[in-house]
Amino acid sequence: MKFPVRAPVSTLVALGGGWLILLAYIFGLEGLRATILGWVVLVSAAGLLLGVLNLAAVHFGKLRGGARNALYSFLLIVSMFVTFVVTAWLGPEHAAPQWVFDYLLLPVEASLVAVMAVTLTFAAARLLSRRVDLFAILFVAFAILTLMGSGPLLGINLPIVSDLLRPWLAQVLAGAGARGILIGVSLGTITTGLRVLLAADQPYGG
Protein backbone atom coordinates (compact mmCIF):
# COMPACT_ATOMS: atom_id res chain seq x y z
CA MET A 1 0.00 0.00 0.00
CA LYS A 2 1.55 3.29 -1.12
CA PHE A 3 0.57 6.73 0.11
CA PRO A 4 2.24 9.27 -2.20
CA VAL A 5 3.11 12.48 -0.35
CA ARG A 6 2.12 15.44 -2.52
CA ALA A 7 3.04 18.20 -0.06
CA PRO A 8 5.73 17.12 2.42
CA VAL A 9 5.56 20.23 4.65
CA SER A 10 1.78 20.24 4.93
CA THR A 11 1.71 16.48 5.50
CA LEU A 12 4.35 16.79 8.23
CA VAL A 13 2.38 19.56 9.93
CA ALA A 14 -0.90 17.58 9.75
CA LEU A 15 0.71 14.38 11.05
CA GLY A 16 2.72 16.26 13.72
CA GLY A 17 -0.26 18.20 15.04
CA GLY A 18 -2.63 15.23 14.89
CA TRP A 19 -0.31 12.67 16.50
CA LEU A 20 0.81 15.11 19.21
CA ILE A 21 -2.83 15.63 20.19
CA LEU A 22 -3.48 11.87 20.18
CA LEU A 23 -0.34 11.08 22.19
CA ALA A 24 -1.06 13.89 24.65
CA TYR A 25 -4.55 12.45 25.02
CA ILE A 26 -3.27 8.89 25.56
CA PHE A 27 -0.46 9.82 27.99
CA GLY A 28 -2.44 12.52 29.80
CA LEU A 29 -0.18 15.44 28.74
CA GLU A 30 -2.87 18.04 29.39
CA GLY A 31 -0.53 21.06 29.08
CA LEU A 32 0.66 20.10 25.60
CA ARG A 33 -2.88 19.27 24.47
CA ALA A 34 -4.26 22.57 25.80
CA THR A 35 -1.45 24.56 24.14
CA ILE A 36 -1.96 23.01 20.69
CA LEU A 37 -5.76 23.18 20.95
CA GLY A 38 -5.42 26.83 22.05
CA TRP A 39 -3.46 27.62 18.87
CA VAL A 40 -5.95 25.71 16.74
CA VAL A 41 -8.90 27.57 18.29
CA LEU A 42 -7.26 30.90 17.36
CA VAL A 43 -6.41 29.70 13.84
CA SER A 44 -9.99 28.37 13.44
CA ALA A 45 -11.42 31.74 14.51
CA ALA A 46 -9.12 33.43 11.97
CA GLY A 47 -10.30 30.83 9.42
CA LEU A 48 -13.88 31.87 10.10
CA LEU A 49 -12.95 35.51 9.44
CA LEU A 50 -11.21 34.41 6.27
CA GLY A 51 -14.31 32.50 5.15
CA VAL A 52 -16.51 35.55 5.74
CA LEU A 53 -14.03 37.72 3.83
CA ASN A 54 -14.10 35.22 0.98
CA LEU A 55 -17.92 35.23 0.95
CA ALA A 56 -17.86 39.04 0.78
CA ALA A 57 -15.24 38.97 -1.99
CA VAL A 58 -17.24 36.49 -4.09
CA HIS A 59 -20.41 38.58 -3.83
CA PHE A 60 -18.47 41.81 -4.38
CA GLY A 61 -17.12 40.25 -7.59
CA LYS A 62 -20.69 39.40 -8.69
CA LEU A 63 -21.78 42.95 -7.90
CA ARG A 64 -18.91 44.49 -9.89
CA GLY A 65 -19.41 42.09 -12.76
CA GLY A 66 -23.06 43.13 -13.00
CA ALA A 67 -24.34 39.57 -12.60
CA ARG A 68 -28.04 38.94 -13.18
CA ASN A 69 -28.77 38.47 -9.47
CA ALA A 70 -26.50 41.31 -8.29
CA LEU A 71 -29.27 42.70 -6.05
CA TYR A 72 -29.02 39.63 -3.80
CA SER A 73 -25.23 40.09 -3.55
CA PHE A 74 -25.74 43.77 -2.68
CA LEU A 75 -28.20 42.89 0.10
CA LEU A 76 -25.86 40.21 1.45
CA ILE A 77 -22.84 42.54 1.53
CA VAL A 78 -24.77 45.40 3.16
CA SER A 79 -26.32 43.20 5.85
CA MET A 80 -22.95 41.52 6.48
CA PHE A 81 -21.06 44.82 6.74
CA VAL A 82 -23.62 46.55 8.98
CA THR A 83 -23.96 43.55 11.32
CA PHE A 84 -20.20 43.03 11.51
CA VAL A 85 -19.39 46.69 12.23
CA VAL A 86 -22.16 47.11 14.82
CA THR A 87 -21.39 43.80 16.60
CA ALA A 88 -17.59 44.19 16.50
CA TRP A 89 -17.71 47.83 17.61
CA LEU A 90 -20.29 47.55 20.39
CA GLY A 91 -19.76 43.90 21.40
CA PRO A 92 -22.27 41.04 20.99
CA GLU A 93 -23.93 41.77 24.36
CA HIS A 94 -24.90 45.35 23.42
CA ALA A 95 -28.56 46.14 22.70
CA ALA A 96 -27.95 46.91 18.99
CA PRO A 97 -26.46 43.50 18.01
CA GLN A 98 -29.08 41.87 20.24
CA TRP A 99 -31.73 43.72 18.23
CA VAL A 100 -30.29 42.23 15.02
CA PHE A 101 -30.27 38.81 16.66
CA ASP A 102 -33.83 39.08 18.06
CA TYR A 103 -35.55 40.72 15.10
CA LEU A 104 -33.62 39.39 12.10
CA LEU A 105 -31.65 36.23 12.78
CA LEU A 106 -34.11 34.54 15.13
CA PRO A 107 -37.32 35.20 13.10
CA VAL A 108 -35.69 34.06 9.83
CA GLU A 109 -34.28 30.89 11.44
CA ALA A 110 -37.62 30.10 13.10
CA SER A 111 -39.50 30.83 9.85
CA LEU A 112 -37.16 28.54 7.88
CA VAL A 113 -37.86 25.75 10.40
CA ALA A 114 -41.59 26.55 10.16
CA VAL A 115 -41.53 26.32 6.35
CA MET A 116 -39.98 22.89 6.82
CA ALA A 117 -43.34 21.70 8.23
CA VAL A 118 -44.89 22.34 4.80
CA THR A 119 -42.03 20.82 2.80
CA LEU A 120 -41.89 17.75 5.08
CA THR A 121 -45.62 17.16 4.60
CA PHE A 122 -45.19 17.26 0.81
CA ALA A 123 -42.11 15.03 1.02
CA ALA A 124 -43.92 12.38 3.09
CA ALA A 125 -46.93 12.43 0.75
CA ARG A 126 -44.67 12.20 -2.30
CA LEU A 127 -42.73 9.29 -0.80
CA LEU A 128 -45.81 7.07 -0.80
CA SER A 129 -46.88 8.15 -4.28
CA ARG A 130 -43.46 7.47 -5.80
CA ARG A 131 -42.28 4.42 -3.93
CA VAL A 132 -44.58 1.94 -2.27
CA ASP A 133 -42.54 -0.78 -0.62
CA LEU A 134 -42.29 -2.26 2.85
CA PHE A 135 -39.68 0.25 4.04
CA ALA A 136 -41.59 3.31 2.83
CA ILE A 137 -44.75 2.01 4.52
CA LEU A 138 -42.82 1.31 7.74
CA PHE A 139 -41.36 4.84 7.63
CA VAL A 140 -44.71 6.59 7.19
CA ALA A 141 -46.64 4.27 9.56
CA PHE A 142 -44.17 4.75 12.41
CA ALA A 143 -43.96 8.50 11.78
CA ILE A 144 -47.77 8.76 12.07
CA LEU A 145 -47.84 6.51 15.13
CA THR A 146 -45.17 8.60 16.85
CA LEU A 147 -46.97 11.85 15.97
CA MET A 148 -50.25 10.44 17.32
CA GLY A 149 -48.57 9.58 20.60
CA SER A 150 -46.56 12.81 20.85
CA GLY A 151 -49.28 15.09 22.20
CA PRO A 152 -52.95 15.32 22.98
CA LEU A 153 -55.22 14.80 19.96
CA LEU A 154 -58.18 17.20 20.29
CA GLY A 155 -57.28 17.59 23.95
CA ILE A 156 -57.16 13.86 24.66
CA ASN A 157 -54.04 11.76 25.15
CA LEU A 158 -54.55 8.53 23.23
CA PRO A 159 -54.44 5.67 25.73
CA ILE A 160 -51.77 3.01 25.16
CA VAL A 161 -50.34 4.91 22.14
CA SER A 162 -49.19 7.93 24.20
CA ASP A 163 -48.04 6.26 27.38
CA LEU A 164 -46.85 2.82 26.26
CA LEU A 165 -46.39 2.44 22.51
CA ARG A 166 -44.66 5.72 21.63
CA PRO A 167 -42.02 5.55 24.42
CA TRP A 168 -41.34 1.91 23.54
CA LEU A 169 -41.04 2.76 19.83
CA ALA A 170 -38.70 5.67 20.51
CA GLN A 171 -36.53 3.92 23.08
CA VAL A 172 -36.39 0.35 21.79
CA LEU A 173 -37.16 0.04 18.06
CA ALA A 174 -35.93 3.48 16.96
CA GLY A 175 -33.23 3.40 19.66
CA ALA A 176 -31.83 0.19 18.14
CA GLY A 177 -31.62 1.68 14.63
CA ALA A 178 -30.24 4.97 15.95
CA ARG A 179 -27.60 3.10 17.95
CA GLY A 180 -26.54 1.17 14.82
CA ILE A 181 -26.35 4.41 12.82
CA LEU A 182 -24.39 6.19 15.58
CA ILE A 183 -21.90 3.33 15.89
CA GLY A 184 -21.57 3.30 12.08
CA VAL A 185 -20.98 7.05 12.01
CA SER A 186 -18.36 6.84 14.76
CA LEU A 187 -16.59 3.96 12.97
CA GLY A 188 -16.63 6.03 9.79
CA THR A 189 -15.26 9.06 11.67
CA ILE A 190 -12.46 6.96 13.17
CA THR A 191 -11.57 5.47 9.76
CA THR A 192 -11.56 8.88 8.07
CA GLY A 193 -9.54 10.42 10.92
CA LEU A 194 -7.00 7.61 10.85
CA ARG A 195 -6.66 7.90 7.08
CA VAL A 196 -5.72 11.57 7.58
CA LEU A 197 -3.38 10.70 10.46
CA LEU A 198 -1.66 8.05 8.31
CA ALA A 199 -1.43 10.46 5.35
CA ALA A 200 -3.55 8.13 3.21
CA ASP A 201 -5.82 11.15 2.69
CA GLN A 202 -4.27 14.60 2.33
CA PRO A 203 -7.21 17.00 2.00
CA TYR A 204 -5.15 20.17 2.48
CA GLY A 205 -3.82 20.98 -0.98
CA GLY A 206 -0.46 20.39 -2.56
Binding site: S10, T11, V13, A14, G17, W19, L22, I36, L37, G38, V40, V41, L42, S44, A45, A46, L48, L55, N69, S73, L76, I77, S79, M80, V82, T83, F84, V85, P92, F101, Y103, L104, L105, P107, V108, A110, S111, V115, V118, L120, T121, F139, V140, F142, A143, W168, L173, A174, G175, A176, G177, R179, G180, L182, I183, T192, G193, V196, L197, Q202
Partner: protein
Protein backbone atom coordinates in the same frame (compact mmCIF):
# COMPACT_ATOMS: atom_id res chain seq x y z
CA UNK B 1 -44.04 49.02 22.93
CA UNK B 2 -41.03 51.33 22.36
CA UNK B 3 -39.85 52.49 18.93
CA UNK B 4 -37.00 49.93 18.66
CA UNK B 5 -39.42 47.09 19.46
CA UNK B 6 -41.96 48.48 17.00
CA UNK B 7 -39.43 48.67 14.16
CA UNK B 8 -37.98 45.30 15.18
CA UNK B 9 -41.44 43.73 15.26
CA UNK B 10 -42.14 45.15 11.81
CA UNK B 11 -38.92 43.70 10.40
CA UNK B 12 -39.49 40.35 12.12
CA UNK B 13 -43.01 40.20 10.64
CA UNK B 14 -41.73 41.25 7.21
CA UNK B 15 -38.97 38.60 7.20
CA UNK B 16 -41.43 35.97 8.39
CA UNK B 17 -43.75 36.79 5.45
CA UNK B 18 -40.80 36.77 3.02
CA UNK B 19 -39.64 33.33 4.21
CA UNK B 20 -43.20 31.96 4.28
CA UNK B 21 -43.56 32.97 0.62
CA UNK B 22 -41.40 29.90 -0.12
CA UNK B 23 -44.53 27.79 0.50
CA UNK B 24 -45.68 29.06 -2.92
CA UNK B 25 -42.38 28.05 -4.52
CA UNK B 26 -38.86 29.48 -4.80
CA UNK B 27 -39.21 33.23 -5.48
CA UNK B 28 -37.31 36.53 -5.40
CA UNK B 29 -38.75 37.62 -2.02
CA UNK B 30 -37.57 34.41 -0.35
CA UNK B 31 -34.12 34.74 -1.91
CA UNK B 32 -33.83 38.35 -0.72
CA UNK B 33 -34.67 37.30 2.85
CA UNK B 34 -32.22 34.42 2.74
CA UNK B 35 -29.37 36.57 1.35
CA UNK B 36 -29.94 39.22 4.02
CA UNK B 37 -30.03 36.46 6.64
CA UNK B 38 -26.80 34.84 5.40
CA UNK B 39 -25.04 38.21 5.33
CA UNK B 40 -26.18 39.15 8.84
CA UNK B 41 -25.40 35.69 10.23
CA UNK B 42 -21.91 35.67 8.67
CA UNK B 43 -21.21 39.21 9.90
CA UNK B 44 -22.46 38.32 13.39
CA UNK B 45 -20.38 35.11 13.53
CA UNK B 46 -17.25 36.94 12.35
CA UNK B 47 -17.72 39.72 14.91
CA UNK B 48 -18.29 37.20 17.72
CA UNK B 49 -15.14 35.27 16.69
CA UNK B 50 -13.18 38.55 16.68
CA UNK B 51 -14.62 39.88 19.96
CA UNK B 52 -14.86 36.69 22.00
CA UNK B 53 -11.93 34.59 20.72
CA UNK B 54 -9.23 36.55 18.91
CA UNK B 55 -9.11 39.92 20.72
CA UNK B 56 -9.29 38.50 24.28
CA UNK B 57 -6.44 36.07 23.44
CA UNK B 58 -4.30 38.82 21.92
CA UNK B 59 -4.83 41.20 24.83
CA UNK B 60 -4.51 38.66 27.65
CA UNK B 61 -1.41 36.70 26.61
CA UNK B 62 2.22 37.83 26.38
CA UNK B 63 3.60 38.30 22.87
CA UNK B 64 5.97 35.33 23.25
CA UNK B 65 2.99 32.98 23.57
CA UNK B 66 1.32 34.52 20.55
CA UNK B 67 4.19 34.13 18.09
CA UNK B 68 3.22 30.60 16.99
CA UNK B 69 -0.53 31.18 16.54
CA UNK B 70 0.17 34.52 14.82
CA UNK B 71 2.50 32.75 12.41
CA UNK B 72 -0.20 30.18 11.57
CA UNK B 73 -2.83 32.90 11.20
CA UNK B 74 -0.49 34.87 8.93
CA UNK B 75 0.04 31.77 6.77
CA UNK B 76 -3.71 31.15 6.65
CA UNK B 77 -4.38 34.69 5.43
CA UNK B 78 -2.06 34.16 2.46
CA UNK B 79 -5.01 32.17 1.08
CA UNK B 80 -6.74 35.47 0.35
CA UNK B 81 -4.73 35.76 -2.86
CA UNK B 82 -4.54 32.91 -5.41
CA UNK B 83 -0.85 33.73 -5.95
CA UNK B 84 0.15 33.15 -2.31
CA UNK B 85 -2.55 30.61 -1.45
CA UNK B 86 -0.12 27.68 -1.50
CA UNK B 87 1.69 29.19 1.50
CA UNK B 88 -1.45 28.76 3.55
CA UNK B 89 -1.66 25.00 3.02
CA UNK B 90 0.39 24.10 6.14
CA UNK B 91 -2.06 26.14 8.27
CA UNK B 92 -4.97 24.25 6.67
CA UNK B 93 -3.05 21.03 7.28
CA UNK B 94 -2.70 21.89 10.99
CA UNK B 95 -6.48 22.41 11.24
CA UNK B 96 -7.17 19.15 9.37
CA UNK B 97 -4.62 17.07 11.34
CA UNK B 98 -5.67 18.33 14.77
CA UNK B 99 -9.34 18.16 13.76
CA UNK B 100 -8.88 14.53 12.69
CA UNK B 101 -7.20 13.64 16.00
CA UNK B 102 -9.91 15.38 18.03
CA UNK B 103 -12.60 13.67 15.91
CA UNK B 104 -11.02 10.23 16.45
CA UNK B 105 -10.80 10.80 20.23
CA UNK B 106 -14.32 12.22 20.35
CA UNK B 107 -15.80 9.37 18.29
CA UNK B 108 -14.18 6.72 20.50
CA UNK B 109 -14.87 8.33 23.86
CA UNK B 110 -18.04 10.23 23.06
CA UNK B 111 -19.96 7.83 20.83
CA UNK B 112 -18.48 4.36 20.30
CA UNK B 113 -17.74 3.35 23.91
CA UNK B 114 -20.93 4.86 25.44
CA UNK B 115 -23.10 3.25 22.73
CA UNK B 116 -21.45 -0.15 23.19
CA UNK B 117 -21.76 0.16 26.97
CA UNK B 118 -25.41 1.19 26.55
CA UNK B 119 -26.14 -1.90 24.45
CA UNK B 120 -24.35 -4.19 26.90
CA UNK B 121 -26.01 -2.67 29.98
CA UNK B 122 -29.28 -4.49 29.20
CA UNK B 123 -27.53 -7.79 29.84
CA UNK B 124 -25.84 -6.79 33.09
CA UNK B 125 -26.00 -9.89 35.39
CA UNK B 126 -25.92 -7.55 38.40
CA UNK B 127 -29.10 -5.73 37.31
CA UNK B 128 -30.80 -9.00 36.36
CA UNK B 129 -29.84 -10.55 39.70
CA UNK B 130 -31.23 -7.55 41.60
CA UNK B 131 -34.50 -7.63 39.65
CA UNK B 132 -34.99 -11.39 40.14
CA UNK B 133 -34.05 -11.10 43.84
CA UNK B 134 -36.67 -8.36 44.25
CA UNK B 135 -39.26 -10.69 42.69
CA UNK B 136 -39.68 -8.49 39.60
CA UNK B 137 -39.42 -11.38 37.16
CA UNK B 138 -41.73 -9.77 34.58
CA UNK B 139 -39.79 -6.50 34.61
CA UNK B 140 -36.48 -8.35 34.35
CA UNK B 141 -37.72 -10.39 31.38
CA UNK B 142 -39.08 -7.26 29.69
CA UNK B 143 -35.70 -5.60 30.17
CA UNK B 144 -33.98 -8.63 28.68
CA UNK B 145 -36.34 -8.76 25.66
CA UNK B 146 -35.90 -5.02 25.01
CA UNK B 147 -32.14 -5.50 25.27
CA UNK B 148 -32.27 -8.36 22.75
CA UNK B 149 -34.34 -6.25 20.31
CA UNK B 150 -31.87 -3.36 20.65
CA UNK B 151 -28.92 -5.71 20.11
CA UNK B 152 -30.51 -7.26 17.00
CA UNK B 153 -31.47 -3.80 15.69
CA UNK B 154 -27.99 -2.38 16.27
CA UNK B 155 -26.17 -5.28 14.61
CA UNK B 156 -28.54 -5.53 11.64
CA UNK B 157 -28.51 -1.73 11.12
CA UNK B 158 -24.71 -1.84 11.04
CA UNK B 159 -24.85 -4.78 8.61
CA UNK B 160 -27.03 -2.70 6.27
CA UNK B 161 -24.02 -0.42 5.70
CA UNK B 162 -21.81 -3.34 4.71
CA UNK B 163 -21.53 -2.95 0.96
CA UNK B 164 -18.94 -5.63 0.23
CA UNK B 165 -19.88 -7.80 -2.76
CA UNK B 166 -18.37 -10.74 -4.59
CA UNK B 167 -17.87 -10.23 -8.30
CA UNK B 168 -18.23 -13.27 -10.57
CA UNK B 169 -17.33 -13.40 -14.25
CA UNK B 170 -20.17 -12.18 -16.52
CA UNK B 171 -22.38 -11.47 -13.51
CA UNK B 172 -23.35 -8.46 -11.45
CA UNK B 173 -21.43 -8.28 -8.14
CA UNK B 174 -23.52 -9.99 -5.47
CA UNK B 175 -23.74 -9.50 -1.76
CA UNK B 176 -23.34 -12.49 0.51
CA UNK B 177 -26.83 -14.01 1.03
CA UNK B 178 -26.66 -14.04 4.83
CA UNK B 179 -25.40 -10.44 4.95
CA UNK B 180 -28.16 -9.49 2.52
CA UNK B 181 -30.83 -11.07 4.73
CA UNK B 182 -29.45 -9.45 7.90
CA UNK B 183 -29.17 -6.12 6.07
CA UNK B 184 -32.86 -6.26 5.11
CA UNK B 185 -33.82 -6.61 8.77
CA UNK B 186 -31.48 -3.67 9.47
CA UNK B 187 -33.15 -1.66 6.73
CA UNK B 188 -36.50 -2.15 8.49
CA UNK B 189 -35.01 -0.88 11.77
CA UNK B 190 -33.50 2.10 9.94
CA UNK B 191 -36.86 2.88 8.26
CA UNK B 192 -38.55 2.83 11.69
CA UNK B 193 -35.80 5.01 13.18
CA UNK B 194 -36.11 7.57 10.39
CA UNK B 195 -39.91 7.50 10.76
CA UNK B 196 -39.62 8.32 14.47
CA UNK B 197 -36.94 10.98 13.79
CA UNK B 198 -39.13 12.44 11.03
CA UNK B 199 -41.99 12.73 13.52
CA UNK B 200 -39.70 14.56 15.96
CA UNK B 201 -38.46 17.02 13.33
CA UNK B 202 -42.02 17.50 12.06
CA UNK B 203 -43.24 18.27 15.59
CA UNK B 204 -40.44 20.82 16.03
CA UNK B 205 -41.28 22.42 12.67
CA UNK B 206 -44.96 22.60 13.59
CA UNK B 207 -44.07 24.18 16.95
CA UNK B 208 -41.94 26.79 15.11
CA UNK B 209 -44.79 27.46 12.66
CA UNK B 210 -47.26 28.00 15.52
CA UNK B 211 -44.78 30.26 17.35
CA UNK B 212 -44.23 32.39 14.22
CA UNK B 213 -47.95 32.71 13.48
CA UNK B 214 -48.63 33.56 17.14
CA UNK B 215 -45.90 36.25 17.11
CA UNK B 216 -47.28 37.70 13.86
CA UNK B 217 -50.85 37.85 15.15
CA UNK B 218 -49.72 39.36 18.46
CA UNK B 219 -47.68 42.04 16.66
CA UNK B 220 -50.56 42.94 14.33
CA UNK B 221 -53.01 43.11 17.25
CA UNK B 222 -50.63 45.34 19.22
CA UNK B 223 -50.17 47.56 16.19
CA UNK B 224 -53.94 47.91 15.90
CA UNK B 225 -54.14 48.66 19.61
CA UNK B 226 -56.25 45.58 20.26
CA UNK B 227 -53.82 43.88 22.61
Amino acid sequence: MNLADLIGGFFAALFTFLVFSYALGDNALFRMAVHIFIGAAAGYAAAVALNNVLLPAFFSQPLTQLVVPLLWIGLLFTKLSPRTAVLGNPASALLVGVGAAVAVGGAIQGTLLPQLAGSASFFSPEKMGQAFAAGQTGAALGYLINGAIILVGTITSLAYFHFGAKSLPNQMPQRNRIIDLVARVGQAFIAITFGVLFAGVYSAALAALIERLDTLIEFLLRLAGLA
